[in-house]
Amino acid sequence: MLKLAAIGAAAGAFSGLFGVGGGTIIVPLLILWFGFGERVATGTSLVAIAVIALFAAVGQGLYGNVKLLDGLLIGIPAVAGVVVGTGLQQRLPERGIALAFAALLTGMAIELIV
């Protein structure tokens, strides 16, 4: 439980600091710390993200920072995308998921440095 708290706190901290979603922190921590398989880690992470993003969206909405129509313009295709992405994932070997994730993290790191 304490470790879960630590993951949540770290995800929130990085979210607050960098505006990156918690998923980039949550997934590797679930895999490397908790020994979750890649599929279960990514699936479980989405539950956490749903909670975090909902609260964050409400908070930001109260500040007036949310443009609902633009959000829907992105969000509707995004939902189609996640249906495709989750289906795709089931066909990938788990080590492929881990490598793809490593590539994502590396890309983010490069973007931060330059």
């Binding site: 990085f14 479980t44 909670v51 443009k67 959000g71 993290l105």
Partner: protein
């Protein structure tokens, strides 16, 4: 054309979200900021409007595939706001460049751990 690009990035962000268990903000924020001309703060805030359904639908799909540990996910989500508070306090005491560099180092370290894991002999433990 910009609208088409934004829609395409929205779709791609969803695919990445479903594939890797992230929210998709990595693509949504640039889509909003660059192609829809939003300010950074508005882009970050508005991307959440896309992230919520992506995460909910994605979690539902993964649940059907048997890939969700519900209570763990809820615990992580519930405790994140504490981390946000810590992050806000910490970020105000450190230079932005120092934050970027340390985060980049952390990301690279985690990436290397993931690669190590991917390359080690199988079978992996299915937790």
């Amino acid at each position: 054309m910009d609208v088409v690009a934004a829609i395409a990035l929205g779709f791609a962000g969803g695919v990445v979200g479903g594939l890797l268990g992230v929210g998709g903000g990595i693509l949504f924020v640039p889509a909003l900021a660059i192609f829809l001309g939003e300010d950074q703060i508005v882009a970050v805030a508005t991307s959440l409007i896309a992230i919520v359904p992506v995460a909910v639908v994605g979690a539902w799909r993964q649940h059907r595939f048997g890939n969700v540990r519900l209570s763990e996910g809820l615990w992580v989500g519930a405790l994140a706001p504490l981390g946000v508070a810590i992050g806000v306090v910490v970020s105000n005491g450190i230079s932005e460049r120092a934050l970027e560099i340390s985060f980049a180092v952390l990301l690279l370290f985690v990436a290397s751990q993931m690669v190590r894991r991917a390359l080690r002999p199988r079978p992996s433990r299915e937790a």
